[in-house]
Symmetry: D2
Subunit: 337 residues, 4 copies
């Protein structure tokens, strides 16, 4: 950690900073420049989090040198992590496709969609039983009934299930039925929920918050991992920007960036990322070209009847066509579908 | 709700949209322009949320006419709401000042700060017992022990307590000690938590999410109110933008805007809003000039020892000086402190 | 255009709006709903730009129905435009690669880079002679001397030249040497400059402003086209968001979106879009997978000596490798390099 | 400047960085930590801009220690600058009010507005003769005819004139009539225009670009000042964020921040900052409370006939009322109107 002092810091002030740093067991390296005095703190700078040096009025700024996350970093674990979802490997050679309706709405439409996902070659069935909705008057999901329908769809198709957990009090139910536990974008910094899933033994799909930096996403993963659960898959799903022509701004650059910073697998959700059906397939292809380990897309047989996110759902025929395009593209970038 | 069809929509497609709208009990108003056909849906458009017309491929866009929230809107309740916090009125003539440390860190420092807040004329004591921290390795708060210290500070100073609730499982403890329950920015869309505090009987301080629109903030309030709890105070605390010279971008324009859209009181937190001690007092004054019903600021006797947010904490002497400036300013805009 | 009135608008106020609309030669369509009166203006709503209906205090909001641009829209011209750059077609089957140094820095390094671009199969040589730099103390470009070096590089390699025009007073010089005139991101709304290049007869590469919406980008193209120059290539180069792990946020979703909204070709600049050498190639591949008509990348033989943007420049060997990857990918999406 | 090397940087690589730094005449300070080697460059780090150390593949990051601007910094000139606009002081004790129509639209309405501004106590008349408009089909301003009308209004009322310069080729005309030359938000990084006004001898009103950081705003001022013109007034006018309930997000925190970083006066434009008439007055008051040296607001006698920005124009009666509120508020913060 590097501490830059204000122009006219006195010797006594310099001594105060040094004393503080040394009290945390770190070593000090002093450098007096022409315009500023700079103090380097050598050792584990994470310890200094509890001694906020920038709170001294004579400190101009504090520049961290190390990444604030450890378990999630590639420096800590150079080889990529492969997460096992009910026998399916995420993070390996294969590009994994998770597909299904936004919300589980009923038995018939779910089974119809599940069969379509299976037939087209999809790997994991998605579907929300508990739905975080902006308005209290919107459909809130079928709850446990929805979980049971997902289980039935799995029984018929063999597809593992990914579904969202919103509340630690519902963890027992969700863990009974799901193979991959989704933490939604709005809960990426629901730290109590992160700790809850960190203590349990199923893989997590952690979606990036809509205004979260990559650093915060990796720190959210670190919350889960620091409780003992290393099976975390990251998911880019679009961030919030000034551009309103799309629902969110899909930030694909984080795919190769996270591959460098972390060993965790990363997938992309172009459905939420764009909010527009016509843009989903091109952006799914782009995601894989950028190096994503998989994609997550919404499919609905009759989007105009969807209780949630109909405008961004692919029709089954579009999904089938996407799978064939993806297969060609995966091959061009040295992967398989 | 207004539905704009794509340029070459056929009669059959127009009929499909009309049928859908009528199936929800709304009336249709058709208008064929030179370049587009437009369909108006007359009646309670909130019903149409479950029939997503924009999911039809021949619909170009859907334009809502009404606000999506009701209980929180000034149209629904024209006179301003005054929230009672343990006998103190928020939303009335008086500008309310909530102050204290970011986190409760220990008995001595809390009591010292509480006395200072009281002596300078502050109205409510703030202090976090459960702390949402970006890093799992940062101080997470004293938990119930912190709540008890807050109770002791109240006993001595008479100041009501505001503190954050992060997890529905901790509601019983927090409700035992707090007078005003804070929902933090990261939990503004933790809908299960909103419902939990909506069912309980204490006033809520709802902080705006760092990437939430005003509409989403009011819908979050609507979540609480639709469960029966109308005692909601809103809080602007800065949004996330590209500007990194401040911790967040304090969006003061929402103060007069929300006063027009809603009857709920609104306060401003310039400590989190700016992240820099030197900017807190000027922005507190600006908030009151813009029409805020109060402010929330962090005060710490020794910021360089604070376990959280030291750089943005006011020193006691700065807080005292702010109170005197605020008093003069409040008077200039026709209010009292 | 649809005008939504405030709840208690009177008959006299409704009449005032109608009179205003009719004064512009448009027809009115009135619809009284349960909570709002809505007025539709039928005809060319662009005319109403000079009669700002939302300025009436009793108007709640005005919702445009049509796109504000015309010449740039695909509705106006359904088939895609192919722009001819000194014999090379942009917007056709071929994916076009523009490459070269950020700035022209000297004869040797420019020629060395140009040869490398040519050898690897690049199509157009880029290089700035006039450089828009954030700091007045940074290298500002070689000016006309730089243009002459570009001409020399073209003579040797046969590669057409793209370079930036910053000032209408320098147009004569730039037009003498360049084949494709670049309007940089900072000048996307320099309307005088747009009009200047709209009146001249060479193709334009129009880069998206760093906080410009897609609508504004297409309106900037409309500025050029409305002066008579239809040869416009759009370029996505990243927008400004809260994320600081990359220099900008490359908004690839606009590629398929613009393909739907407009007939103009669009290319992507992953060098400025990411600011990091390691991310350039993956994002170049992603851009082509998303449907881009080409890419623009920075190449420098010794980035650590570059006078501008060294950290995002590809080494020649990386560029050669990218070309081979791009070739495979282009084929997988049905195009050629 | 501090250079952090990647974990396994070799001695040869360290030597390469040191050699580079020394070649620019700076001294090196080496510090080997437990996880990273850090190199400090002591001396004028601005020199290193042309030797991009982060372009070395073994450099992890480069952390500047000094501000990149000099003439604009308060460190360089501790006392505040007072700019003289035709005899009126901006940056002193008095809060300065600039008011008038967005665009000059005609003789009658301009004179009517000018008289109202004068009568209410406004200090400077604003009005655009050359208008930067998003659409090429919108009213583009009266040009030189508009300048002459402004001169006539000055002759009658005695109010100095501020108007925008968009194109260096129009500088001669604008300088003939204006007392204060406005550089609009879209041109904040039109560096050629900045240099043009830097060489001329009238004060400049420099508006912050809608996605510009404070650092970039001060560097834009530095462009002007480095050409010899020190008479620069900064203007905050709202930045672009995800929030669409207001036209822009007025970033008032930069007022006290810039007061600390720079000696230049700063005013606020709440008309463009909010885009909504009802929010202009509260935010004008907030601006002064935050420490602004003045405000700039739009006033129009008949906003519904305005050719530009009608919805954000104050009616004359509202402006008169604002002036009286401002007067009371200015006094409360120790200033005069």
């Amino acid at each position: 950690m590097i501490i830059v002092l204000k122009p006219h810091a006195t010797e006594a002030e310099i001594a105060q900073v040094i004393k503080k740093i040394e009290s945390f067991g770190l070593t000090v390296h002093l450098s007096k420049g022409t315009e500023r005095t700079i103090i380097g703190a050598i050792g584990d700078e994470r310890l200094l989090q509890e001694g906020p040096l920038e709170a001294f009025p004579f400190v101009e700024k504090v520049l961290p040198v190390l990444k604030p996350y450890k378990l999630a970093s590639r420096e800590f674990k150079p080889e990529g992590t492969v997460v096992n979802v009910d026998g399916l490997q995420v993070g390996g050679q294969r590009v994994v496709v998770m597909a299904g309706p936004c919300a589980v709405e009923g038995r018939e439409s779910l089974l119809e969609t599940a069969r379509c996902v299976k037939a087209a070659g999809g790997h994991i069935l998605r579907g929300g039983a508990y739905k975080p909705r902006t308005s209290p008057y919107a459909f809130q999901g079928l709850g446990e009934e929805g979980l049971k329908l997902l289980a039935e769809a799995k029984l018929e198709t063999g597809l593992p299930i990914v579904t969202e957990l919103m509340d630690p009090r519902e963890a027992t139910a969700v863990y009974e039925y799901a193979d991959l536990i989704q933490i939604g974008a709005r809960n990426m910094q629901n730290f109590k929920l992160l700790k809850e899933v960190g203590c349990r033994r199923k893989p997590i799909l952690l979606k990036r918050g809509m205004s979260s930096t990559v650093k915060e996403l990796l720190l959210a993963a670190e919350y889960i991992m620091s409780e003992g659960n290393y099976e975390v898959i990251l998911c880019e799903r679009g961030i919030r920007t000034f551009e309103d022509a799309t629902r969110n701004t899909l930030d694909l650059s984080v795919v190769p960036l996270i591959k460098r910073l972390s060993h965790l697998p990363i997938i992309v959700d172009p459905s939420h990322g764009t909010g527009k059906r016509d843009l989903v397939s091109p952006m799914a292809l782009a995601a894989v070209a950028a190096g994503a380990d998989g994609i997550m897309v919404e499919v609905h047989p009759r989007p105009e009847e969807a209780l949630s996110d109909g405008p961004q759902a692919l029709l089954p025929i579009m999904f089938t066509s996407l799978m064939s395009d993806l297969s060609r593209l995966a091959q061009a970038v040295g992967r398989t579908l």
